[in-house]
């Protein structure tokens, strides 16, 4: 029973980690640059949800109706107005800019909200549980998280595989110069990809804020988990994000069941192990550019 409970909780935790990784995987796969502020932007989205709930009186999940479009626009603007200007100089400027952005967000949030831990209140669903068998109880909200993740993964996979714009995303990932010859404006594609990533982050931030309390400096730890999910799953693979999240979540809960201090360590060790055995991850999609 304990083993089953541990596995189930690992899977559910993995759902949250996969959410962390999904937005990062998208921009990493298409732009080939790392958004080092990814974790802080998740936390920023959580704080924006907090403001939205307080000002408009919405529940956190309802605030997504406002938050998703707002975050899309912020991401699109960040890419088009700032990051796109540095494309010709390789990937390093974007890494440095997002590294700086990370500090700006952390300290901006500290100024605006103090270092006190906050929480998003969705109501009874936060603590509801279902008992599957004696001794095996799982939370309703973690199940909902996993369901949201699966819907987003299938939607993203369908978008990338079946729509013309999705194919343009993949073509730009493969070879931006040749994509231009097909009439694809790479800068617009990058803007849309970052916008889409931020829209996913909006959902991630709200889910995170309902599941646990948060403070302005929680971002870097989220970035590490997001990275580990991508490293395990393979760059650019949407289903790999699911696999990466589940493996990381299960590894952590198994580690934690053995000894609570092994919780995070177990996840890091599994990531390192996969990095040694399969350096490009389990399901790499992205193809090396020339």
């Amino acid at each position: 029973m304990i083993a089953m409970s541990t596995m189930l909780n690992g899977v559910l935790l993995g759902g949250l980690y996969a959410l962390y990784g999904l937005g990062l995987s998208l921009t990493f796969g298409i732009m080939r640059t790392v958004n080092l502020a990814h974790g802080d932007i998740i936390v920023l989205a959580t704080y924006l949800a907090l403001i939205t709930t307080q000002v408009l009186g919405l529940t956190p999940l309802m605030s997504l109706a406002v938050l998703v479009p707002v975050m899309f626009c912020i991401g699109y603007g960040l890419q088009r107005l700032i990051l796109n200007r540095t494309l010709k100089d390789g990937m390093m400027p974007a890494v440095i800019i997002t590294f700086g952005l990370s500090f700006v967000i952390q300290n901006g949030l500290l100024l605006g909200f103090s270092a006190d831990r906050q929480v998003l209140r969705q109501g009874a669903i936060e603590t509801m549980g279902v008992t599957l068998a004696p001794g095996v109880t799982i939370g309703v909200f973690p199940i909902l998280t996993l369901a949201v993740l699966l819907v987003m993964i299938f939607a993203l996979q369908a978008f990338m595989g079946r729509t013309l714009l999705g194919r343009a995303f993949r073509a730009t990932s493969d070879d931006p110069a040749t994509a231009e010859l097909m009439g694809i404006d790479g800068k617009r594609i990058y803007g849309l990809a970052m916008g889409l990533s931020f829209a996913i982050i909006a959902v991630t931030g709200v889910v995170m804020g309902i599941r646990s309390n948060f403070s302005p400096f929680d971002g870097p730890a989220r970035l590490i988990f997001a990275f580990e999910v991508i490293i395990i799953g393979g760059m650019g693979s949407i289903y790999g994000v699911l696999a990466g999240g589940l493996i990381l979540g299960i590894a952590q809960t198994i580690g934690g069941a053995i000894n609570p201090t092994f919780f995070q360590l177990a996840g890091h060790l599994v990531t390192l192990g996969i990095l040694v055995v399969r350096p490009s991850g389990l399901f790499p999609e992205t193809i090396e550019r020339d």
């Binding site: 013309l164 343009a168 070879d175 040749t178 097909m182 009439g183 694809i184 992205t286 193809i287």
Partner: protein, 234 residues
């Protein structure tokens, strides 16, 4: 007025000037062949026309509009398609997705996925393969089909016979009349003089970045063309 007019065009890479004052013109539905030795500037000329490389000086006009400052993705929408040297298929896309992405400029016209398959029937059984699983000839057919999917008014083809067996090259060249038959002007770069002369209306021979010789393909003196090609009069 010609569909494509290039006047006194210069272009290059950094300090290196690869084109020195090129002028040429292509009418609607006409096929131009660009010949010349390696390094003569043929690829640079195509890349400058399609907007992948900026012009240093000179004019390029397409259907009366100046396009020398336009980017490649804008020109694709205006109706200039490029079959790049080395084919450059998108490796993570299937054959069919490579064709579909060619329709991104959303230009209506004769060419559809089914009509490209009719032009190159061997691609049908390959439609779900990834581009790099194909033979060189099949890849070239996908690259041509992908460019046609934009229903271009001007199709630029850079060394479509490069690295292919003669029998495959013959097959690909057989598709050219069908392509220009639908009103598309073609500018093709070709190393093989006989082939260049047989498929084109006009031929231009480049030498060290300028037009050394040009004229109607049907009336071209082969020896003069060979001399121009090797720079015998330079």
């Amino acid at each position: 007025m010609a569909l494509l007019e290039v006047e006194n065009l210069s272009a290059g890479y950094g300090l290196f000037q690869a084109l020195r004052g090129i002028s040429l013109a292509a009418e609607e539905g006409e096929t131009l062949a660009i010949v010349g030795a390696n390094g003569a500037g043929k690829t640079t000329l195509l890349r400058t026309i399609c907007g992948a490389l900026p012009a240093m000086t000179g004019r390029v006009s397409f259907d009366g509009t100046s396009i020398e400052n336009s980017s490649a993705h804008q020109l694709a929408r205006l109706g200039i398609s490029m079959v790049p040297e080395g084919r450059k298929l998108f490796p993570s896309l299937t054959v069919e997705d490579n064709l579909i992405i060619g329709s991104y400029p959303k230009r209506k016209g004769f060419w559809t996925v089914e009509r490209v398959y009719a032009l190159f029937p061997e691609l049908v059984k390959r439609r779900n393969n990834r581009g790099l699983d194909l033979s060189g000839g099949e890849q070239q057919m996908v690259a041509i089909g992908r460019a046609l999917m934009a229903n271009p008014r001007l199709l630029l083809m850079d060394e479509i016979s490069l690295g292919l067996a003669p029998i495959v090259v013959n097959q690909i060249y057989k598709s050219l009349p069908e392509i220009s038959g639908h009103g598309t002007s073609v500018v093709l770069v070709e190393q093989d003089l006989n082939r260049a002369l047989s498929v084109s209306n006009h031929v231009y021979c480049l030498l060290e970045g300028h037009v050394e010789l040009s004229g109607l393909s049907a009336q071209m003196d082969r020896q003069a063309l060979i001399d121009a090609y090797f720079g015998a009069n330079a």
